[in-house]
């Protein structure tokens, strides 16, 4: 994988390191892929969100394991066991609030990560498979979060699970069978809760596996950058350590301040009050809403009066992302040099926010109309605007190299810029 001129770090000369590395080259891997790994010199703070997402995955797995040790996956005991965690387990409230709010933080981080990819064209050649793997991770995250939300067995857990699993009944012929198979019975009940718990515990490890593939694909061609142009030589890159390790560490501390604010001072804000009521199959909540991070998709689902149509649109809204590298016909990656795309990017962001708002409201009147208009815009963005923009847009001139805008052209600049690569 290492295509750059790799010079081993000093620690590689240690005799124990050498002994191990000769048999299992784990230190070479660390040195090549984490320490000396060349990264574009111009990455901004939006490039922090990949490592933040990875750290959130670890936070969720660790807090989740401790919750699972005290959780009882049965309809009779789930709600009370969660309350026992909150009240009687030492620091149980802390672990639970980290896990609950961690899910929201994970999605915020991943949404910013995805939007960064959209803005800077990170999905384009040669990173299409890297992009696909990201979408797969996103889908797995959605499934994991959905099943996790069912486990506390509150009112929204139960009714959310009922609504979402029922979606599959929209498919002709096989639909009803799929739903029975998902439930393991004739309604959302104890077998459903059991399997959701088992799968909720399994999925994060599947995610971790796909994350490794995502990183592998990333490290073949390296990170994209705010200019969206390829690195031309060593002057364009700096070693990952210490430059990006320290930058990521600073970003992580800032992110944890926001995370800690929610955990300690506002732990219920991002959740729905109804989920603190134990599930009751006989009482339907006034209106059933998913967690905030699913609201845009919920709005797409409800945009058409036809159930099957809504389900297809909802799945389509994510499936279309797989085609994005070919729907975007522009050869220029970064929106910085695409004046027209930049406008459409922000319109797309507004469109997603409008979908989220519409998803939180009852599906009638103005919210329904907003949801429908935004749904149409969402698909137009990918199917019409992006292909046409590539043809009609006149991109701004690209800089000759990543180093040029900061160091100026010419040989002197090149020499000065090679220094960092030799340092460290």
């Amino acid at each position: 994988m290492a295509k750059y001129d790799y010079v081993p770090s000093p620690f590689m000369a240690n005799s124990i390191v050498k002994w191990v590395d000769h048999r299992l080259p784990i230190f070479t891997l660390i040195d090549e892929q984490l320490v000396k790994y060349p990264a574009p010199r111009n990455l901004n703070y939006l490039w922090n969100f990949g490592s933040l997402a990875g750290i959130m995955l670890v936070v969720m797995i660790l807090s989740g394991i401790f919750l699972a040790m005290n959780y009882n996956p049965s309809t009779a005991g789930a709600f009370d066991s969660v309350e026992r965690i909150m009240r009687d387990v030492n620091y149980g409230w802390l672990i639970r609030y980290i896990h609950m709010n961690g899910a929201s933080m994970f999605f915020i981080v991943v949404y910013i990560h995805i939007l960064r990819g959209l803005y800077y064209g990170s999905y384009k050649y040669p990173r299409e498979i890297l992009w696909w793997l990201g979408i797969v991770i996103f889908l797995l995250m959605m499934a994991t979060a959905f099943m996790g939300y069912v486990l506390p067995w509150g009112q929204m857990s139960f009714w959310g699970a009922t609504v979402i699993t029922n979606l599959f009944s929209a498919f002709p012929i096989v639909g009803e069978h799929i739903v029975l198979w998902l439930w393991g019975g004739f309604s959302v009940d104890n077998p459903t809760l059991n399997r959701f718990f088992a799968l909720h515990y399994l999925m994060p490890f599947v995610i971790a596996g796909v994350v490794l593939l995502h990183l592998w694909a990333l490290h073949v061609h390296g990170s994209n950058n705010p200019l969206g142009i390829d690195a031309k030589g060593p002057q364009d890159k700096i070693p990952f350590h210490p430059y990006y390790t320290v930058k990521d560490a600073f970003g992580l501390a800032v992110f944890f301040i926001i995370f800690a604010y929610f955990v300690f001072f506002s732990p219920y804000t991002l959740g729905h009050p109804d989920n603190w009521i134990e599930a009751n199959p006989l009482v339907t909540p006034p209106h059933i809403v998913p967690e905030w991070y699913f609201l845009p998709f919920y709005a797409v689902l409800r945009a058409v009066p036809d159930k099957l149509g809504g389900v297809l649109l909802m799945f389509g809204s994510i499936a279309i992302l797989f085609l994005l590298p070919w729907l975007d016909t522009s050869r220029v990656r970064s929106a910085r040099f695409r004046p027209a795309y930049r406008v459409f990017f922000w319109l797309f962001v507004i469109c997603c926010l409008a979908l989220g708002w519409a998803g939180a409201m009852p599906a009638e009147g103005v919210p329904l109309l907003v949801g429908q208009v935004a749904t149409v815009w969402y698909f137009l963005h990918f199917l019409v605007f992006l292909p046409l923009l590539g043809w009609f847009e006149r991109p701004l001139p690209l800089p000759a190299s990543i180093a040029e805008p900061v160091l100026g052209g010419g040989k002197a600049g090149m020499v000065a810029a090679t220094k960092p690569m030799e340092k460290a």
Binding site: R41, N42, N44, Y45, L46, D80, E83, R87, W93, L94, Y97, S104, I108, Y111, I112, L115, R116, Y119, I238, P242, Y243, V246, K247, A249, F250, A253, F256, I257, I258, A260, Y261, V263, F264, F265, P267, T269, L270, H272, P273, D274, N275, W276, I277, P286, H287, V289, W292, Y293, L295, V349, L353, G356, W357, A360, M361, V406, L407, A417, K419, K423
Partner: protein, 255 residues
């Protein structure tokens, strides 16, 4: 950087805005001033104990608090002896014993609060079909939390506004979803007599029991606040140090 800030701000605003938006089901109760809100909030022990008295003498006739055990009352400042004395007032079913019989015994500190009804059906049957909800988590599972509890308890109107006809056995309340509530006004002036001499006005009792229920829903609130402040201070200092380190490391890199 400008884009980064915009992006983060809009995504956060999105998340937070929706939290508020999902609260659209019932009128939002006005926020009261509580001692336990804010970064340094703590519960007033005297208020908690008065609130427990209101629950015990009034609410507990119909409303269970399944998640609370007598020993938890240490959190409102009661001593072990006081807790044991309170528990002993209740008879709970235990068993089976060696003869296979269930038997009655006085409650212990480790027992859950005794529920007024053996099951939900019995609770409904005794209350004209309306189920008096469990109060353990009422300050978390209603929009507005303890503000809602206070608003509801003080929000009864003897005569409904013009044009509203109440159904049989219902009462008008400004803050209940749909305004028709099956619970008769539970509190009135001097419904309880406070041992500490506080004047038991309707508003005072409503306030005290709201605080008690807020504590019952979040008994670790004080631990949460005090640890939270420490964690925040730590993280802010850490972020500052890391920022300085980042500046130093990046000093020679033009970017």
């Amino acid at each position: 950087m400008r884009t980064a800030k915009l992006l983060i701000a809009s995504v956060l605003a999105f998340g937070l805005g929706l939290g508020a938006a999902s609260a659209a089901e019932a009128p939002k109760p006005p926020a009261q001033k509580w001692a336990h809100t804010g970064f340094f909030g703590t519960f007033d022990r005297a208020e908690l104990q008065r609130g427990f008295q209101v629950y015990k003498e009034v609410c507990a006739a119909c409303h269970a608090m399944h998640q609370i055990r007598y020993r938890n009352l240490a959190g409102i400042g009661l001593s072990e002896a006081e807790i044991a004395a309170i528990a002993k007032e209740y008879e709970v079913t235990d068993g089976p014993n060696d003869e296979g019989e269930m038997f009655q015994r006085p409650a212990r500190a480790s027992d859950r609060f005794k529920s007024p009804f053996p099951n939900q059906q019995a609770a409904r049957a005794a209350n004209g079909g309306a189920y008096p909800p469990d109060l353990s988590l009422i300050a978390k599972n209603r929009v507005g939390g303890e503000n809602y509890v206070y608003a509801l308890l003080t929000g009864y109107k003897e005569t409904p506004p013009a044009g509203v006809t109440l159904m049989d056995g219902m009462y008008y309340n400004d803050w209940f979803a749909g305004h028709q509530i099956g619970m008769a006004p539970p509190l009135s002036d001097d419904r309880v007599t406070y041992a500490d001499g506080t004047k038991a006005t309707l508003a005072q009792q409503a306030r005290d029991v709201s605080v008690f229920l807020a504590w019952a829903a979040s008994p670790h609130l004080e631990a949460r606040n005090s640890l939270g402040v420490k964690v925040m201070i730590f993280l802010i200092i850490l972020a500052g140090l890391l920022y300085a380190t980042k500046r130093k490391v990046w000093r020679d890199i033009k970017h």
